[in-house]
Amino acid sequence: MSQQAPHPQPAADFGEDVPRLLNRLQVAAVALCVLFGVLAALFQVLSWQANGRAADNTEQVVRVQEIQTSLLRADAIATTAFLVGGLEPPEARAAYDAAVDDVLRLITDAADAQPADRQVLADLNVEVRTYTTAVAQARDYNRQNLVIGIAYLNSAGDALRSDALPIVQALVDANSERAVDEMDGQSPILLLIVGVLAVGGLVLVNREISRRFHRRVNVGVVGAAAGIGLLTLVIAVHAGTRSSANADTRDGAYDTAVSEASARTAANDAKAQESQGLINRGSGAEYEELFAVAAETVEQNASPATLRLWRDYVVEHQEVRDLDDRGNWDDAVALATSSDAGDPTAALDAVDAAAEQVVSDAADQAADSFGSGGVVALALAVLTLLGGLVAAAAATWGINQRRREYS
């Protein structure tokens, strides 16, 4: 449709350099559109990366909690086997070795996964070696029927809890903080602000043009503003949805994985305290206090299914304590070290296996949730960038129309 080109009508200042002004407005409009496209795409890419890192950090949290659990499981097995006497049951030895192997493998995996953890993991490696050396010395003395072995076992357990576990806890805390921070990496508000600023800027550009021409609306500029507005709405809603999904995962699968892992660690710690209470004869009450602390952690963190198994174990544990407290130490040891179904060791193994499965399932679910939707997020980022460029082109076209009319 042909339009009759109106003559330019400078609004107030007849000496105003309109072409120059149009150039400036064009630069401003294009800059706004491009800036929107780049910034909004950047924020979306960063959010997508944050979600990826949330997934990675979740896996690292679970990995270091697995180190914690395996260390205490090794200690529980070592202390329980110690009770049997100098001749350690081969299956207990194999289980201890497997737990220590798990720890060493997980330390290597964790160091590969997170460079920021490497130095601390190297320190942990040293502490684990110190612990295993002390356990080996304790085992050697026990095999020679020398009671100094108990001191080595105590020394190993004390060092584990005072030197190694604080390092693992620091790793758990640091990676949990990283994971949670990354979960908050979605930025719908920021996208809205960028979009609103871009649209507002384009509206101002349109107003400046309309003040100098008879047209209230510059189709190119207003079209760019409308496109950016629509795009802003779409990407902000998407980011909001992702943010909400992240919050659900954090409060759901992620929380389940972390809590269950804490419960599993505490359950193994409790079993180690049960054995220590029997090894250090006469100190049952002292170790029972430590058992109670671990038990409280299990009660507060375990999933319902694991909690039922845990309470089965606690009944068995109480029987061990009752026997020991009545002076029937031999029977208490026999019960504590029995591998028969329903006895304390088997009951604790059931707790451990159930918790391990819950942790594994929940961690996979959390990591999958954080890592999902990547294609959509990247496609939207590309679309946003292209949208910004198209809007810039539209604004350029719209202002060029006025420039042609003026010339």
């Binding site: 294009v30 491009v34 890419v45 006497g85 006469g282």
Partner: protein, 325 residues
């Protein structure tokens, strides 16, 4: 020179925006985390010795006096109570090799102190089979458990002193122990003077470390949770010696062929007695009878020769009883 067109300038300006934004994107994407750090543990407070507030009485030699046996020692209230219950409950150690420790081969608690408890139960029940309950207790539990009646006697290398006499009663002295020092066999340490600048370990909260510092001020005190933990430090090269009762040191040395107990006079005297509730005077009298019977029939000597002599390498002699309390 040709001036750039407006659209050319615009394109350059657009590129000028893109470069820093892309750089920002790269910087943010490559951003790593701060290195993980481990919070420093709160400084542990080390009790270098002392422990108790100190005696409120003076050990003037009368603390070793016990109750003289008189009359039928089996007719007293305390002994009758034990006979009625059907077992004697003795508080013992299970981690002090040669005095009271669990034999890992059969799980039984054995040692010099255990022989004393067995002899007492034998006298009450004749024989004691199945009627002696060995209750493993910590050092800190000895007096409270006697006072509340949980246990009847303590046979756990317990030093008799006037402060404890104010809380419980004791039998006559059944062994004269004393503080000595264990060192490495080839360490070059031959007497107390050689302990200067050496790290000597004793359990935290005991007077042993103070005694060493009094006798050899240049010794470097090291503390651990108990005597066995000191031995671990010694074997790991973190202490040059361990100082405590010679009987305990004998048990530690018996587990390490590279350790010897220095042949020195006692740094302090640690007379051992069987601890009893302060009200059970008749039980104390019975125990004193048992100790004299063990002297007469050689059971004390047999027990000493079996448990302590191989490590202490000196002939033991049962102390003469002192009565008059």
């Amino acid at each position: 020179m040709k001036r750039p067109s407006p659209s050319g300038r615009l394109a350059r300006r657009r590129r000028a925006w893109v470069a820093p934004v892309l750089a920002l994107l790269l910087v943010l994407a490559a951003c790593g985390y701060d290195e993980t750090t481990v919070p420093s543990p709160q400084a542990a407070t080390v009790d270098a010795g002392g422990g108790n507030d100190g005696p409120t009485c003076t050990n003037d030699g009368t603390q070793v006096r016990s109750y003289a046996p008189e009359g039928d020692v089996l007719s007293g209230d305390a002994v009758a109570r034990i006979r009625k219950r059907g077992r004697l409950v003795a508080g013992v150690a299970a981690d002090t090799f040669l005095l009271g420790s669990r034999d890992p081969s059969d799980g039984q608690i054995k040692g010099f102190d255990i022989d004393m408890a067995t002899a007492i139960a034998d006298r009450i029940f004749a024989p004691a089979t199945g009627k002696l309950e060995l209750r493993v207790i910590t050092a800190a539990e000895r007096i409270p458990l006697l006072q509340d009646g949980t246990i009847d006697i303590v046979a756990r290398n317990m030093t008799v002193n006037c402060d404890r006499w104010e809380q419980i009663a004791f039998s006559a002295i059944y062994y004269d122990a004393g503080q000595k020092v264990l060192v490495g066999r080839d360490s070059g340490i031959r007497d107390i003077a050689d302990l200067a600048d050496k790290r000597i370990c004793a359990p935290a909260g005991t007077t042993s470390i103070q005694n060493i510092q009094t006798i050899q001020p240049q010794a470097i005190p090291v503390t651990a949770g108990d005597n066995s933990a000191c031995m671990v430090l010694f074997q790991n090269g973190e202490a040059d010696g361990v100082s405590t009762d010679d009987t305990v040191l004998a048990g530690l040395a018996a587990q390490d062929p590279y350790a010897v107990v220095l042949d020195t006079p006692f740094l302090t005297d640690e007379p051992y007695g069987i601890g009893v509730n302060a009200d059970d005077v008749d039980l104390v009298q019975l125990i004193n009878v048992v100790l004299e019977e063990m002297r007469a029939d050689g059971r004390w000597q047999d027990s000493y020769d079996r448990w302590l002599r191989p490590s202490l390498q000196v002939p033991g002699k049962q102390p003469k009883p002192q009565y008059g309390r």
